[in-house]
């Protein structure tokens, strides 16, 4: 009914004012253009970085990225891998290569350990009954919103000096966390990321694990399986999608992290991850400015690959846990 009506109205209009209608319909599609204009605007920055990273220093300083194709005519090499060569290897330039290893070390461990720990906790919150469970869960997840800044000062001093507590009245001091001289070392970043990731990880995994069918657990416990077996044999395999979602989220988060590594590793150049090395390149205006493009592209490459290959899981992690703090 509706469709025929529209058709006739359109038919009448078309026969009366053909040109006007064509223009009208053309102009009405402006919102769709708006989408594609936005898409192009959103892509230009990344694209310009990509192009510029293959241009010589003077070419980068002399003209915008859109002139890359005429670089050859101006006596420059394009594309050239010189920037990458220079930025990757420590004997020539900035040593981003070494920093990439540190980034990988930080991100891999700071992804796997939180997943494991949070999966146990999420299982316990979902399927083990105990008093105060709901409250403990809410309290843990509420910490999502806490900004990591509030924990940095005490954590750094714990890593560099340990934690000692003087018992009031008795005037005796005990060591609660030994002075392991962790500040400047990568394990301090692992520990910090693991702690900070906990609320979000528990929240995300719990949502999924709590949604697994109840019959599954009942039949398993009739078969005499204990919690550990159920967790290991049943819950873990079934939770692969959400584990993957969290893993990707956490990997990108830790790989891209700047604040925590800067605070905990600080001045120890050998252990700095890629983000900090590139940021410090950005800090020194001038001489090595051209390396910035290649450096930034290298540290972005890993996340981009993960993004394009596993976008589905990443989106799932984001939508499922959109209260990450």
């Amino acid at each position: 009914m509706t469709t025929t009506e529209t058709k006739t109205t359109q038919g009448v209009l078309t026969s009366r004012r053909p040109l006007g209608n064509r223009i009208y319909r053309f102009l009405r599609s402006i919102p769709t253009w708006f989408l594609w204009v936005l898409v192009i605007l959103w892509t230009i920055p990344t694209f310009s970085l990509f192009v510029n990273s293959f241009r010589e220093r003077d070419a980068q300083r002399g003209s915008g990225f859109w002139n890359a194709l005429s670089d050859g005519g101006n006596g420059y090499d394009f594309p050239t891998l010189d920037n990458y060569r220079e930025v990757l290897f420590p004997d020539v330039g900035a040593g981003v290569g070494n920093a990439l290893l540190n980034s990988a070390s930080i991100a891999i461990v700071a992804t796997i350990i939180p997943i494991a720990i949070a999966a146990f906790a999420a299982y316990a919150f979902a399927w083990i009954d105990f008093r105060g469970r709901e409250w403990l869960f809410i309290a843990t997840v509420a910490l999502l919103a806490v900004p990591s800044q509030v924990a940095l000062i005490p954590l750094l001093s714990a890593y560099s000096n340990g934690v000692a507590w003087t018992i009031p009245v008795l005037e005796k001091t005990v060591t609660l966390f030994p002075d392991l001289d962790l500040s400047g070392q990568i394990p301090s970043v692992w520990l910090t990321h693991t702690g900070f990731a906990m609320p979000f990880a528990i929240f995300l995994l719990h949502n999924y694990i709590a949604g697994l069918p109840k019959d599954l657990f009942e039949s398993a416990s009739i078969d005499g399986a204990d919690h550990f077996t159920v967790f290991w044999r049943l819950v873990l395999p079934l939770s692969v999608p959400v584990l993957a979602a969290f893993a990707i989220f956490q990997f990108l988060w830790t790989w891209n992290d700047y604040l925590i590594a800067l605070t905990m590793i600080g001045g120890n150049r050998a252990n700095l991850p890629g983000t900090i090395v590139v940021a410090s390149l950005a800090g020194e205006f001038g001489a090595r400015e051209h390396l910035l493009t290649a450096g930034a592209f290298i540290i972005t490459l890993g996340p981009l690959i993960v993004f394009f290959l596993l976008q589905r899981f990443f989106v799932r992690g984001i939508t499922a846990g959109s209260v990450k703090g």
């Binding site: 102009l27 936005l38 891999i108 461990v109 919103a145 609320p199 919690h227 700047y258 940021a279 209260v323």
Partner: protein, 642 residues
């Protein structure tokens, strides 16, 4: 290559170690039902070994390696014995004996004060003080009795509970409260009694029967599963948070902090760098402000008029809403460019990021929904989410870069801006561009007219808005000129004048926010997209059958359906934006009036080493997220507790 090996080994050790510990403990508690003595032996060894290891770590033992190994052996033997013996007198005797043996070990090897300077060890040999011991025993007896009463007054638990309380009291009174200047003999007496009491507590309980062992196997799991997570949450978030709140009241260098009350907070809120109201008077005088008022008034009128047409008080549609949003944006900018400082900057960030990321994200989600190439468009908008803030800052520096006026501009923005300036000063280009713009205006006017006939308000409002903006452009272009140029006062020549996007305040703040908006629009889009796809098809179909236009369906059906999602996106963005750090840090390091709270905190704490003030700034951040936390808690309570 060497580094690569070290890295891989570190990863394997960290992951493998954690796995072995966790699985090991689970396997240990699996033993309780079938092989109780073995479980008991391992648990005993681990417990006593753990205690001695802690003493070792606190430098309270002499020859610690040997002592800890001995402690593990004795503990395991004691655990094994208690795992076998049934009769209660035997158990008690074995427990006291084993405990006393451990005490003897401790007494013999407790550290005596020795060494000087760096290597000095404060001894822990207690000197026996009758008063302390008597007070300790009294406290311990009271404590033990209390625990026994609380745990249900079971007669068979009387001895172990009392022994446990007495052990605690004895430890407090005879050792911890004592002067640590005693002799070896005194240490032996105190330690053996302590060990005996602990052993009595362990041996005083009957051997668990099959049912209780199954209970242990089952009941232990919640602790095993939860402890690692809760330890991390406590150690990395809760305790540091409490300590930061405490540090906020202290001042001085990190080694010797002294109490200063609320001085840090007074310093923060009286610092003109952090909040400065002196420009507030200029708000009324600014053009932005009046433009904002104009848009808000027009938006309200449009909403009212259209609302009366359809019989509601106020019509929420593309026209009224875009005018009102524009008004709110300009109003916010008028306020935040006048009231300066770190805190207003942070509020400005939150304001801009929420408005732009939410509206653009929603727009993309709606426009892309079922459009051709939906997935490609969404992927590309979403892509910046994968890029680090550092990478994004570097990328946008390239876009914003300003070269000297005589050189070609290499940044996209300045290149366009300077080109516009060149056109403004060339008669031909000026005429051509103006003609093109006027043609577009004419087309839009036609569109608006057709839209008016078709009663498509969104088209009318949208075209009208674009016409106003383009008209203003033509006016500027033909009149005073537009773009990056200036006339040299000396020679009268016209030279390029690029904009210093990153350095020129206060608008540089906005250019930094653009980077974050670029990233977060993808986030908002993904969430909205999921929400829009979840709107039931029946509802939309019903609205269409009732004759609603696309735009009406959107505002009356889709938007109310996804309203809770908007709330979630906004709260998430508030939390994310509040702690924004990387972008200002990398792009300006807080210079040129772009300081934000997170960077203020970092600089105070880690550059100036003023832990007190840094902590106070962190607490301000924490207080700012409290409302969001409270909302999240309320929502979860509703969902979970009913």
């Amino acid at each position: 290559m060497n580094r690569l090996v070290v890295t891989v080994l570190g990863i394997v050790a960290a992951v493998g170690g954690s796995a072995v510990v966790f699985i090991g403990i689970n396997k240990l508690f699996d033993l309780t039902e079938e092989r109780y003595p073995l479980y008991s032996a391992i648990a005993g060894g681990l417990l006593s070994g753990g205690v001695f290891y802690l003493l070792w770590g606190n430098r309270m033992l002499e020859s610690p390696v040997l002592v800890t190994i001995l402690a593990i052996i004795i503990g395991a033997a004691l655990g094994y014995a208690l795992g076998i013996f049934e009769p209660s007198t035997q158990r008690l005797a074995v427990g006291i004996g084993g405990g006393a043996a451990l005490g003897l070990l401790l007494g013999i090897f407790a550290a005596d004060s020795s060494g000087e300077g760096e290597t000095a060890i404060a001894g822990i040999l207690p000197s026996i003080d009758p008063v302390g011991i008597i007070v300790g025993i009294l406290i311990g007896a009271g404590l033990g009795f209390l625990i026994w009463v609380i745990s249900g007054r079971k007669p068979e638990l009387m001895i172990p509970r009392m022994a446990m309380g007495l052990a605690l009291g004895w430890l407090l009174g005879a050792w911890m409260a004592a002067e640590l200047t005693g002799s070896r003999a005194e240490a032996l007496i105190v330690a053996v009694v302590l060990g005996g009491l602990v052993g009595a507590a362990a041996g005083g309980r009957s051997r668990p029967d099959q049912v209780r062992r199954a209970d242990i196997a089952l009941g232990s799991r919640k602790y095993i599963f939860l402890t690692p997570a809760l330890v991390f949450v406590g150690a990395a978030l809760v305790i540091p948070l409490l300590r930061t709140i405490w540090l906020g009241f202290l001042t001085g260098n990190p080694r010797e902090l002294t109490w200063t009350g609320l001085t840090n907070y007074a310093d923060i809120f009286s610092d003109p760098g952090i909040i400065d109201f002196s420009g507030a008077g200029d708000i009324i005088g600014s053009r932005l402000f009046w433009l904002a008022v104009f848009l808000l008034v027009v938006g309200t009128v449009v909403g009212r008029v259209l609302g009366q047409r359809v019989g509601t008080g106020f019509s929420v549609n593309s026209g009224s809403l875009s005018l009102l949003t524009g008004g709110v944006i300009l109003f916010g900018f008028a306020v935040f460019t006048a009231i300066r400082g770190t805190i207003p900057n942070n509020l400005w960030w939150i304001f801009s990021v929420i408005i732009f990321a939410v509206s653009l994200g929603l727009a993309v989600a709606v426009l892309a929904d079922r459009a051709r190439g939906e997935n490609i468009a969404k992927s590309l908008i979403f892509l910046p989410m994968a890029i680090s803030f550092v990478g994004a800052s570097v990328i946008w520096r390239l876009i914003y870069v300003a070269r000297p006026p005589q050189d070609p501009q290499t940044g996209v923005f300045n290149s366009l801006w300077v080109m516009l300036g060149e056109w403004s000063n060339s008669g031909l280009a000026k005429t051509l561009v103006s003609l093109v713009l006027l043609a577009i205006i004419a087309a839009l006017a036609y569109l608006a007219w057709r839209g008016w006939q078709a009663e498509a308000n969104a088209i009318v409002a949208g075209s009208a808005a674009i016409i106003v903006v383009l008209g203003w452009l033509v006016f500027r272009f033909l009149g005073p000129g537009l773009g990056g140029f200036e006339t040299s006062e000396v020679t009268g020549e016209i030279v390029a004048a690029p904009v210093l996007f990153i350095q020129e305040g206060p608008w540089n703040n906005f250019w930094l926010m653009v980077v974050f908006i670029w990233i977060q629009t993808g986030f908002a889009m993904v969430i909205f997209s999921a929400a829009i796809k979840a709107v039931p098809e029946d509802l939309l179909e019903a609205a269409r059958i009732d004759g609603a236009t696309e735009s009406q369906t959107f505002w009356r059906v889709t938007v109310p359906q996804i309203f809770p999602t908007i709330g979630v996106v906004v709260t998430t963005l508030i939390v994310q934006t509040l702690k924004i750090f990387d972008i200002p840090k990398v792009m300006t390091n807080g210079n040129f009036d772009t300081q934000v709270l997170a960077n203020e905190m970092w600089e105070r704490a880690f550059t100036q080493l003023n832990f007190g003030l840094g902590s106070a700034v962190a607490v301000v951040l924490f207080v700012a997220v409290l409302p969001v936390m409270a909302m999240n808690i309320r929502r979860m309570q509703r969902e979970r507790l009913g």
